[in-house]
């Protein structure tokens, strides 16, 4: 298993010179009077854990879905690994997607497949030269990384909420992504399991040197995992800084997230 993170967030080497994700003037609306993103500008640096906070419905999930092309932005530039994803065709977009992991809020495990099949599913399609033994070894390694090697033959319906999150994370990790997008990774979990998931996120960052965007309402998770926090309000980035700085912000609305 990946080494457990400690209680105190240790500084992790972040290469501030290399932006992995650059978003400029991102607009997205659903219908005439329902603008969700109103010109978001954001840069995420290599190896950084960026936490995105905001009220429910403020467009946090839409923001990360725009990054992988699940939602098409109305206007704006989204550069991932230096490439504007809005200009890519399907094959080029898929080449970028393979390098990005996405952990869904409800894990989105394939119900009709066992845990083994869930993990092997993307691997078999993207690493066709791998033998059955190599796929099996990769599956076991990914499950070891999330501390659930015994769940390999279980169906998703047999797993608890925390286990589903871990398996979802293992499936995300199996393609060794350089960027991981977490959509509310601790929502619906008890305090202890939430902490375990947060520690796992941090441990993955340390081990794999991944860049992450973490959407969350869980301030304990934000504190533990975030190198930098941004707060979305009215479709734009309203505040930005590390946890301690935002906690002491002059803006009462920003401080209200930390109570």
């Amino acid at each position: 298993m990946i080494n457990e993170a400690t209680n105190i967030k240790e500084p992790i080497a972040v290469d501030t010179t290399v932006p992995v994700i650059t978003i400029k003037g991102l607009y997205k609306s659903f219908g005439k009077d329902n603008a969700v993103l109103n010109g978001v500008d954001l840069t995420v640096r290599k190896g950084e854990n960026l936490v995105v906070l905001g009220k429910s419905g403020s467009g946090k999930s839409i923001l990360i879905k725009c990054l992988v092309g699940l939602v098409t932005a109305d206007t704006g530039e989204i550069k991932v690994f230096g490439t504007d994803i809005n200009t890519l065709d399907n094959n080029e977009l898929n080449a970028i997607r393979v390098r990005i992991g996405f952990l869904f809020q409800n894990s989105a495990l394939y119900d009709s497949m066992t845990v083994r099949e869930n993990l092997a599913f993307p691997l078999k399609r993207h690493s066709k030269k791998l033998s059955a033994e190599e796929v099996e070894a990769a599956v076991i390694e990914a499950l070891d990384n999330v501390g659930l090697p015994d769940a390999v033959d279980k169906m998703p319906a047999e797993l608890s909420g925390g286990m589903r999150k871990r398996i979802g994370l293992a499936r995300t990790l199996i393609l060794k992504p350089e960027i991981i997008l977490y959509d509310e990774p601790t929502t619906g979990l008890d305090t202890i399991t939430s902490r375990e998931i947060s520690e796992l996120i941090l441990a993955i960052q340390k081990k794999n040197k991944t860049t992450s965007i973490i959407i969350t309402h869980d301030m304990a998770c934000a504190k533990l995992t975030g190198d930098r926090l941004v707060i979305l309000k009215d479709g734009v980035i309203d505040a930005e800084g590390n946890y301690e700085a935002l906690e002491k912000s002059d803006d009462e609305w920003v401080r209200s997230f930390f109570i």
Binding site: L70, R97, A108, Y110, D111
Partner: protein, 252 residues
């Protein structure tokens, strides 16, 4: 009125694009053969008991209901041929397709609908896996190939049901019964009836997939997708049947 008319055209456009995508994707590798075979097993093999029971009852009831009328004209000997013709040309294809619309189209609609709602389809997409190819192409191909097999099976069981029906009131041995059945049939009875079952299968799969794939968010839409899939598939079966009969009438 105008809005609902607009919605009809918008929906028709979406269905056309969805269907067009099938023909684009079906010939393009990679081919999901394992998933296709799994769907053939689920759609074909797992539907056999239901189709067998229905087919047997269709043959038996048709024989028992037709017998008094034919007996009035002293034409009871026509019973095996008439039952076989009715079953093969019309009753077995349509009833089997309707049963499959209820079982398979609703199942596909609900399965894909719940996958959509729980973001499983999105999960495939962000893993750079083509969900249309994996989920839709395999299911539509499986229904297109399995419904004709199920109809042929229903034909056979239905004809056997007719044999049981004939023997309730008279004594006809199996060899003579099947000889009369075969004498009354020619290829022109079988070929058009079989060709239309491929279309039944195609549309059962396509409509189930379309309704599931385009389900809105929320659990309510899963039930709605399943329900709409059955209604639309059943209606489409009748429309195809009507067209098939007209075309057969023109050419044969």
């Amino acid at each position: 009125m105008l809005i609902s008319l607009k919605n009809i055209f918008v929906n028709a456009g979406h269905v056309t694009l969805f269907t067009g995508r099938f023909f684009k994707e079906v010939l393009r590798p990679p081919f999901e053969i394992k998933e296709f075979l799994r769907q053939c097993y689920i759609i074909g093999y797992k539907s056999l008991p239901l189709v067998a029971i229905t087919g047997f009852i269709m043959g038996l009831v048709l024989t028992l209901q037709s017998r008094p009328t034919l007996a009035e004209f002293g034409a009871e000997s026509w019973l095996p041929g008439m039952v076989a013709l009715s079953l093969i040309r019309e009753i077995a294809p349509v009833i089997t397709a309707l049963i499959c619309a209820g079982k398979i189209a609703s199942g596909i609609g609900a399965e894909l609908g719940s996958m959509k709602v729980t973001e499983q389809i999105d999960a495939m997409e962000v893993s750079a896996i083509n969900p249309y190819k994996y989920l839709v192409v395999t299911r539509v191909l499986a229904t297109t190939l399995m419904i004709p097999v199920l109809v042929v099976f229903a034909d056979a069981i239905g004809i056997y049901g007719g044999y049981v029906g004939v023997n309730i009131h008279s004594d006809l041995n199996m060899f003579r019964y099947f000889q009369q059945v075969l004498d009354s049939l020619d290829f022109l009875d079988i070929i058009p009836a079989t060709i239309k079952t491929f279309f039944f299968g195609f549309f059962i799969g396509l409509i189930g997939c379309y309704k599931g794939f385009t389900a809105a968010n929320g659990t309510e839409s899963v039930g709605k997708a399943a329900n709409e899939a059955v209604v639309a598939a059943s209606l489409t079966i009748f429309i195809i049947d009507m067209l098939a009969v007209q075309i057969t009438d023109l050419f044969f």
